[in-house]
């Protein structure tokens, strides 16, 4: 067909059904973005760091979740807990450093305590307030330490030592229930022995968080990557399955990567993760914005923090085995970063693609249809790697939670379903 005029361009192309595309406004509309924060990110379990980032009692790590400042601490009892990083007095952020230890006292506080530098209120590692400066003089019997503990958050350490937190006290699922079986493909590998983070970097990218999640969920974009074309693209690659799980999570099944087909790269056989067949590659896209990518010798985890409809911070972590020798660790880092590091072959390409994708979808641009309509199945009828089932599965959960039809966000989810049927 020749290039289309405006009317033709606005029509649904070909014979695609209404669940096979989304409206570009879901990637750019401010009101939709705010709803996503309240209806999704405040209601789900998200990993916020890894337990190896808190190696000893009294270590802490700070982060944010749905714009709320969070502090994760390892208590003297070795238990990892999470709190809002907010002093109950005047709302000051209690700890400003990204990580550290409370073993030594802050300038205005005691050792082994969290101290708000503003007025020197102090808290123990369980979040109990244990000191209010000049409490009796100022509050008499109207307010005591027992009235002003920190805001605790539900927290679990799960799946290879990731620290999961939710802002929703009333969430009715544990992390395991929330995962809905999506971790079955790699749990044995992750839990075989303690893991350790060896790589961390962050990127703030001018794109909607869902564009990054979409990219992680569809492998059709492997045409973008010379590395993946040369080391993949064989029968077993195209047979990889795309499997949906409850709560919007997906898996992309494994195959054997031919690393030595890329000049200068080597087999990962020597340092395979426990129970992972040599050079294999398993992936989980976890709703609403987390990716676990276990590839040969290294685990990558992306955690997304949406900053605006057209801005996302992505934290990239690389993990190996805590028992690695220094030589093994260096090799593992090399394997991870040569593909996924900030100077690696693939990550730059992916980030470039989603940035230019968002550049066509400003809030004021005309709406577009973003196609998710590929159906590519195996002999059993199961979706395979270039099927776009991963994105369609995500948007069912997104639409249900937002009560918006992804193909027309002005329409309720139920009405969209009825229309699609």
């Amino acid at each position: 067909m020749p290039a289309r005029n405006g009317k033709q361009w606005a029509n649904v192309p070909g014979k695609l059904g209404s669940g096979e595309y989304v409206d570009s406004r879901i990637y750019s509309d401010h009101a939709i973005f705010e709803e996503e924060i309240s209806k999704i990110f405040r209601k789900v379990w998200m990993p916020v760091c890894h337990e190896s980032e808190l190696p000893d009692p009294f270590c802490f790590r700070t982060t944010t979740l749905a714009r709320e400042p969070i502090m994760v601490v390892r208590g003297g009892d070795n238990v990892v807990r999470a709190f809002l990083n907010v002093c109950p007095h005047r709302g000051n952020m209690i700890e400003n450093r990204p990580s550290g230890s409370f073993e030594e006292g802050a300038p205005s506080g005691a050792p082994k305590h969290m101290t708000c530098m503003f007025h020197a209120w102090q808290f123990d590692m369980k979040g109990n307030c244990v000191h209010i400066s000049r409490a009796t003089e100022g509050y008499q019997d109207r307010l005591a330490c027992s009235d002003v503990g920190l805001r605790r958050l539900r927290c679990e350490v799960k799946y290879g030592g990731f620290v999961w937190v939710t802002l929703d006290d009333g969430i009715d699922q544990s992390v395991e229930e929330w995962a809905h079986g999506a971790f079955d493909c790699m749990q044995k590998s992750l839990d075989a022995e303690p893991l350790e983070v060896f790589h961390y970097h962050k990127a703030i990218i001018p794109c909607n968080y869902k564009l990054w999640h979409d990219t992680n969920s569809e492998f059709y974009h492997d045409y973008l990557h010379y590395h993946n074309r040369i080391t993949g693209f064989n029968d077993s690659y195209f047979a990889r399955k795309n499997i949906g799980f409850g709560n919007g999570h997906i898996n992309v099944g494994s195959f054997e990567v031919q690393y030595d087909q890329y000049e200068g790269f080597e087999s990962r056989e020597e340092l395979s993760f426990p129970y992972l067949p040599t050079n294999h590659w398993e992936m989980i896209d976890f709703f609403p914005g987390v990716n676990f990518n276990l590839r040969g010798s290294a685990l990558r985890c992306d955690i997304m923090t949406p900053l605006g409809p057209d801005k996302v911070m992505i934290e990239f972590r690389g993990l190996g085995l805590k028992s690695d020798t220094p030589e093994e660790r260096l090799t593992r880092q090399r394997h991870h970063n040569s593909i996924w590091g900030p100077f690696g072959r693939n990550l730059h390409e992916d980030l470039l693609a989603v940035s230019t994708q968002q550049a066509t979808m400003s809030e004021w641009a005309e709406k577009r249809r973003i196609l998710h309509g590929r159906h590519e199945t195996d002999a059993d009828g199961d979706p395979t790697i270039h099927d776009e089932e991963g994105m369609r599965h995500f948007y069912k959960e997104w639409g249900r939670r937002m009560d918006r039809w992804p193909g027309n966000p002005e329409m309720s989810y139920q009405k969209g379903q009825e229309k699609a049927a």
Binding site: V197, H227, L330
Partner: protein
């Protein structure tokens, strides 16, 4: 050759390398490197309290990496260095010299996102220090090792190019 002349020679080599890297003249840059050359980009993460190696390899690895660049999709926005050599310490006995330089890399947008709006805009891409070791005493000083120690850790889109 006096130490002062050796130091001048080394400084010139560092600055020449900066120009070659600015201009993506990878082969010319690598011609300034010894056959045992080792290159690494490192950063310390206060988030995970860990010395990280983002990229490393020997001369042969860099040759194949740069030769394969045309096969990759990349942001071609030029990167230009402002390099200042701080110290050069010559070790005549070992035939080496250790140097520390400070650098800032500026990126001038070309095709990274939306060229109509952004092309021509310059931003600081990253800052850090070059920690170099040279082989000296056999004519042209040659890079034996370069460790690019980054201060910048928010690397956004990153790059395929050596720094």
């Amino acid at each position: 050759m006096s130490d002062q002349l050796v130091i001048e020679d080394i400084k010139n080599t560092i600055y020449r390398a900066s120009l070659y890297l600015d201009e993506c003249r990878w082969a010319d840059w690598l011609a300034l490197c010894h056959e045992d050359f080792y290159y690494a980009i490192r950063a310390f993460s206060p988030e995970i309290n860990y010395d990280m190696t983002y990229l490393d390899g020997h001369r042969a690895d860099l040759v194949s990496m740069t030769e394969m660049l045309p096969k990759h999709n990349s942001d071609h926005s030029p990167l230009a260095r402002h390099t200042v050599v701080y110290t050069v310490d010559v070790n005549d006995t070992q035939g080496t010299a250790s140097c520390v330089s400070s650098f800032a890399v500026y990126q001038t947008q070309l095709d990274g996102i939306n060229s109509h709006v952004l092309a021509g805009e310059s931003n600081i891409f990253l800052v850090g220090k070059y920690r170099d070791i040279f082989r000296i005493g056999t004519g042209q000083p040659l890079f034996l090792q370069r460790v690019v120690q980054l201060d910048t850790r928010r690397l956004d889109k990153g790059t395929h190019w050596p720094i």
